[in-house]
Amino acid sequence: MAIEKQDVAAIARLSALSVGEEEAGQVAGKLNHILDVLETMQSVETDQVEPMSHPLDQVQRLREDRVTETDQRERYQRIAPAAEKGLYLVPQVIEQV
């Protein structure tokens, strides 16, 4: 399952990273080198094994439905790269998804 140059573009797009045409080959090489190591996994039979998502077998703890947060907008927006009239600003988005 080797990553080709065009796969790099797709992965970069999903990752919101830019990988230039000229670096794509090199990046693909590095990623493949990593994936080669991961390939050892495939040698093990795991049909009967349950996937494990958490180290401990715990269940979700629940929070009371009580307001604990207050309006801190000014403080939080002080570290925002672009905010005006209480809104965070980004370049114009044409249509909503």
Partner: protein, 478 residues
């Protein structure tokens, strides 16, 4: 040529009625200043962690039980990964593989007298996204994250609907249900209840066609129009040899058309995986039993009961169960008065008229069921007439107090004293000798004239039945 069959499935996002967000203690009041309810977690600050709001669990269970679905005894939150400015963490926390409400559910709808059962695939908990504001700044989009993290129950139907009418009937029924269950306020204008429709066409017996998704439609009327338009559009495409493409389309009510949203260059790959910050949600049988015991009577059952026990018509039963608040009001009134038909008339008559005029919902009515029962009792015991009661109701609506206070203050007590009525009748007869002669000559309809004159003389306070009886007796004697 064989007709096209329409296939529709709905995804409904119902905002759960809670005080705080699904994973943070931020309030979720509608219409707050932008980002004033967006706190550390809601802003996706580094190091922030989600903790699940207790209140959403029983609501989801209640919904699952109401539609007869299996409850997910161990549900898991997953992350749906994509970038968008209204999605502060770069992923939406949702339930993909193990939803809290599993399969097995359904909802019966009625269209043109026919009952159809619509399957419910699943319902899962998830967080809402924020809002993008496109018109506030030239060349920029503003992002308000107040709504980000609001708890939603996404209810996914089977593709079981075959017309726009069925889709709307299902959506309405669901809208009614979530309100009766007290899990969602159903406010479509505020986005508390949002319907996405998946629409496709095919020839019966062939595989389903490619579907288009119609998003963000905020009224039942528009849902119907949008689906109708979309069906026509797809038939036109296919019949002219084209192909429907899978896409999301927006409905424009002003032009009554659906429009493709900017086409994505490549299909998105959401890379769902179990959220490592949240643990499995385990529901015990006792949790389910508790919700089953607390399950309110559902609208279908209420309608049957209103008709069978109280002899109301199907239409009246339908109207009185239009909302849970309406049904609660009505049932309280019946409990207090023991008069189902009269209570129904009041609720659907003067009360509904007044509510409409003032743009109020019944739970905001200035005249409570108890107050209205007090008024009905005064009509029942003959203290006031039905006509006076309307006057008293108007005064109560205007905040002038309980029925007895208004009757007292306005001196509206009905005159029932035989002697007093007799005196008034005698005076009226004496003043109108010509009319008396006419009556006695056989013009019996003159009776109405005399009743009117007596009522006028009594300023409307004489008991009309008694006036009638006394008049008849005196005219017969004369």
């Amino acid at each position: 040529m064989q007709d096209w069959e329409v296939v529709i499935g709905l995804e409904i996002h119902a905002q759960l009625t809670t005080h705080t967000k699904i994973f943070s203690g931020s309030p979720i009041a509608y219409g707050a200043e932008p980002n004033s309810q967006a706190n550390l977690l809601d802003l996706g600050m580094p190091g922030q962690l989600p903790v699940l709001n207790k209140a959403v669990i029983p609501k989801a269970i209640r919904f699952g039980l109401a539609v007869g679905a299996n409850i997910g005894r161990r549900s898991v939150f997953d992350r749906k990964n994509y970038f968008y400015p209204d999605l502060p963490k770069g992923y939406q926390t949702s339930q993909f593989t193990y939803p809290i409400v599993e399969d097995g559910g359904s909802l019966d709808i009625e269209v043109d007298g026919q009952t159809r059962r619509i399957g419910i695939t699943r319902a899962h908990l998830e967080e809402d996204a924020g809002k993008s504001i496109h018109d506030a700044f030239p060349g920029m989009t503003g992002v308000d994250l107040n709504r980000a993290g609001t708890p939603l129950l996404e209810i996914v139907s089977e593709p079981d609907m075959r017309s726009a009418q069925e889709a709307v009937a299902y959506a309405r029924k669901m809208h009614e249900l979530v309100q009766f269950l007290d899990i969602c306020d159903g406010n479509m204008q505020e986005g508390s209840f949002r319907v996405d429709s998946n629409v496709s066409i095919h020839k019966p017996g062939t595989p389903f066609g490619t579907r288009a998704e119609l998003k963000n439609i905020n009224s039942f009327r528009f849902i119907e129009q949008a689906i109708e338009f979309e069906i026509e559009r797809q038939i036109e495409i296919v019949e002219s040899g084209g192909e429907v493409i899978q896409e999301t389309r927006l409905y424009d009510p002003e032009r009554n058309e659906t429009r493709s949203m900017r086409e994505k260059e490549e299909a998105n790959d959401y890379r769902y995986f179990p959220c490592p910050d949240l643990l499995p949600v385990v529901i015990e049988q006792t949790d389910i039993d508790q919700e089953a015991r607390a399950m309110p009577e559902l609208p279908d059952a209420k309608r049957v009961r209103y008709q069978e026990n109280w002899g109301l018509s199907q239409e009246d039963a339908q109207m009185l169960t239009a909302s849970r608040a309406m049904a609660d009001y009505f049932e309280t009134l019946v409990d207090l008065t023991g008069e189902a038909k009269k209570a129904a008339n009041w609720v659907m008559g003067d009360l509904s008229k007044a509510l409409n005029q003032d743009g109020l919902t019944i739970d905001r009515s200035p005249v409570s069921a108890k107050m209205l029962a007090g008024l009905m009792a005064r009509v029942d015991d003959g203290t006031i007439s039905g006509k006076m009661a309307k006057q008293v109701f108007a005064a109560m609506w205007a905040g002038e107090g309980h029925a007895d206070d208004v009757i007292e203050a306005k001196g509206l007590k009905q005159i029932t004293d035989e002697g007093a009525i007799g005196e008034m009748v005698d005076r009226v007869l004496a003043e109108h000798p010509d009319q008396v002669a006419a009556y006695q000559a056989g013009q019996e309809k003159m009776l109405g004239f005399f009743v009117g004159q007596v009522m006028k003389a009594s300023k409307g306070q004489a008991n009309p039945a008694q006036v009638n009886a006394v008049l008849k007796a005196r005219l017969a004697q004369a």
